[in-house]
């Protein structure tokens, strides 16, 4: 399984669930290279710091977050009519609307649109939804060649890896590795790892792609019920290059991307990039409301488990997410375990909430991959109660019998011990004796706690014993 990650032979994520490895095991692979872990940690913290600087320049920041959160509350409570309003307005503008209950339906629609136009190649701008639905693999199996045009996504695509971050897909890669990939696939000189030079190479390679593809697919950042338009945000301009040069533009969106009115974009566009990278806005915030003359425009509205999450009162807030990535950048666990350890298209804290909704057994480990420090909830621009939801998922998962095995065993032992005063005192005593006379029993690889630390020196006696001895008679 670890092979999938280290040899990059297969873009499919390693299989999880019963008997499979979990977040901790995958993080172990990442943690083998300590320098890289430190570098990953520092890079993401640097981005988090840029976010802080940018946010502090907006005095009404907290009010904006409250407002965004309230707008999203309204969206979730009125989603049925907003979706229909959006559909009617987009159709009136000449956009074709499709609905897909799951990944299979979505992917089949994309494939049929490509087939209808008699082509075998497509250019795609960043869309985490299509990652979630494994569109690229599906199309590859059907003989369609897809090129990802976001530079970071193109890099992980060449490496046959999934993105490890929703905003920064190749944040886990060193420039030397990228240079090597470009050398192998794009013919750059061996050993050249200069970002400027590599970006220039990608610019030429992808320009050729934009100019030769008839079908372009983009994601959707926001879809406006009031006007039937949708907004796509990029820094590179790749969504626009693809869409404006194509004969057919397909946009894939989850049902939760709706916002009520155009003016609400003012709130969300102010929050999105400041939270993501600290930028005041993305270079391009493009509003598509009608196809170009002679062009076809399609929107595929996807459910894939979102309506189920909408019905889970404790977790429906996760559907407010605008995919800024701030919760990942600030998460001490994400930063030191890497995005691939989450074995899900959306990694980090928000991914750990969304994934168990799709498959509680397969992703039972993810809500436990958190310190519950609350940093994610503090930075979230739409005020999702991320760490509370992670805590709630743990309970749901345990109640449903899907707790990760190691956690199950130790929790059972702990429950038994805590339930009996005798067992508790004996366990404490035994523990102190073992730590004192046989520290090797704990300071070894079998003890996950010891892996990153030395065990503390045990006290000679417990507080209970001390208290008994020193207690003054009344």
């Amino acid at each position: 399984m670890s092979q999938n990650i280290t040899t990059h032979t297969d873009k499919k994520l390693p299989l999880q669930g019963a008997g499979g490895a979990d977040h901790a095991a995958l993080a172990d692979i990442f943690n083998k290279d300590e320098d890289r872990v430190n570098w990953h940690d520092e890079t993401l913290w640097w981005i988090r710091a840029k976010r802080d600087l940018s946010v502090h320049k907006i005095p009404e920041w907290e009010a904006l977050r409250d407002t965004a959160s309230a707008i999203k509350n309204n969206v979730l409570s009125n989603l049925n009519s907003y979706l229909q309003q959006f559909e009617a307005n987009a159709q009136a503008n000449g956009i074709v609307i499709h609905w897909a209950a799951d990944g299979a339906e979505h992917n089949a629609i994309v494939h049929s649109l490509i087939k209808k136009h008699n082509v075998t190649r497509m250019v795609k701008s960043k869309s985490m939804l299509t990652e979630e639905l494994h569109l690229n693999e599906y199309l590859a199996e059907n003989g369609i060649d897809v090129i990802d045009s976001d530079l970071g996504e193109r890099i992980v695509q060449l490496a046959k890896e999934p993105p490890s971050h929703i905003v920064l897909p190749c944040i886990h890669k060193k420039k030397e590795e990228i240079g090597e990939l470009f050398h192998q696939f794009l013919g750059t000189p061996a050993g050249n790892a200069d970002p400027q030079f590599l970006t220039e190479t990608a610019r030429h390679h992808l320009r050729e792609t934009f100019l030769s593809r008839k079908v372009a697919l983009t994601g959707v950042n926001f879809a406006i019920a009031e006007t039937g338009e949708f907004v796509v945000c990029t820094n590179e301009g790749n969504a626009d290059m693809g869409a404006h040069l194509s004969d057919i533009h397909i946009a894939s969106m989850g049902i939760e991307k709706i916002i009520p009115e155009r003016k609400h974009l003012g709130v969300f566009l102010r929050l999105l990039t400041r939270s993501a990278t600290g930028q005041p806005i993305t270079t391009y915030s493009s509003h598509f409301s009608k196809p170009r003359d002679g062009q076809e425009m399609h929107i595929i509205i996807v459910d894939n488990g979102r309506t189920v999450q909408l019905g889970r009162e404790d977790f429906r807030n996760s559907l407010k997410c605008i995919r800024c990535g701030a919760c990942m950048n600030t998460c001490p666990v994400y930063r030191r375990s890497g995005g691939h350890s989450y074995h899900n298209a959306i990694s980090g804290p928000i991914g750990a909430i969304l994934a168990p909704n799709l498959d509680m057994e397969k992703y039972a480990d993810l809500p436990f991959a958190s310190t519950l420090c609350g940093s994610c909830s503090n930075v979230c621009p739409v005020k999702i109660d991320i760490h509370d939801q992670l805590y709630k998922w743990r309970q749901v998962i345990v109640q449903n019998g899907y707790a990760p095995t190691a956690k199950k065993l130790s929790m059972q032992a702990m429950a038994t011990t805590l339930a009996s005063p005798f067992a508790y005192h004996m366990a404490g005593k035994a523990g102190r004796l073992v730590m004192k006379y046989a520290p090797f029993a704990l300071n070894n690889k079998l003890n996950p706690w010891y892996k990153q630390r030395d065990m503390p020196k045990p006290p000679d006696e417990s507080f209970g014993e001390w208290y008994k001895k020193n207690r003054k008679a009344p």
Partner: protein, 213 residues
């Protein structure tokens, strides 16, 4: 359909191609969405008009753009050859620049034919001080791809048309119809390789704004 939606027990609606998914999703949304919560009032958010022009210049410069304050199109015409390679293809939507640029005002052409443009010069409706962007709609672009496919982009805005924040921007836009519109904030850029900022990812390598006052 209405009946089926009002009857939560009947969640399994028959699949009828794409239509089946639509009814199924809408019914599930209706059944699972919480009680209606009102939209918040967003009129409280307003920027400061005072000094907006100076803030605009600072912000755009910080994100990699260039700003020139000019008084006339003649001044713009004089600046173009000193800052761009005017021996290459220059395309503009502005009739005032027809003697230094090829005019394109949206005639039906193949967008691919614009691939070798060195410089595009277009007008924008207004600029936004807090993020350095300009708002441009299709009618000002000639071709949708024009501001993206060129190596360099120049934009003309009236100096008085700078709004403080995105809220004023959407107030101005209101509910007017456009086929395509975009906020452009600086040159195309990426930082995907070890977070090193590189200007000129797929779109223009530079963005110059002429503030016409």
């Amino acid at each position: 359909m209405n009946q089926e939606i009002q009857n939560p027990a009947n969640q399994k609606l028959p699949l009828q191609g794409a239509g089946g998914a639509r009814e199924k999703i809408l019914a599930a949304v209706l059944q699972n969405q919480p009680a209606l919560q009102n939209l918040p009032d967003i009129t409280f958010v307003k920027g400061d008009v005072e000094g907006a022009q100076e803030r605009y210049i600072t912000t755009l410069t910080t994100i990699g753009g260039k700003v020139f304050k000019v008084n006339s199109f003649d001044e713009i015409k004089a600046l173009i050859p000193t800052h761009f390679d005017a021996s290459k293809r220059v395309v503009s939507t502005l009739p005032q620049l027809s003697d230094i640029a090829e005019l394109n005002q949206g005639e039906p052409i193949d967008p691919h034919s614009l691939e070798d443009i060195e410089l595009s010069i277009i007008r924008a409706h207004f600029g936004i001080a807090e993020n350095g962007s300009v708002w441009v709609t299709e009618d000002l672009m000639g071709q949708r791809v024009l501001p993206f496919i060129c190596q360099h982009l120049a934009v003309v805005i009236d100096a008085e048309n700078i709004v403080p924040t995105m809220h004023e921007a959407y107030q101005r836009i209101g509910l007017i119809k456009y086929g395509f519109g975009t906020f452009i904030a600086g040159p195309s850029k990426t930082a995907d390789i070890e977070q090193s900022l590189v200007l000129g990812a797929h779109g223009p390598r530079s963005m110059t704004v002429f503030l016409l006052g």
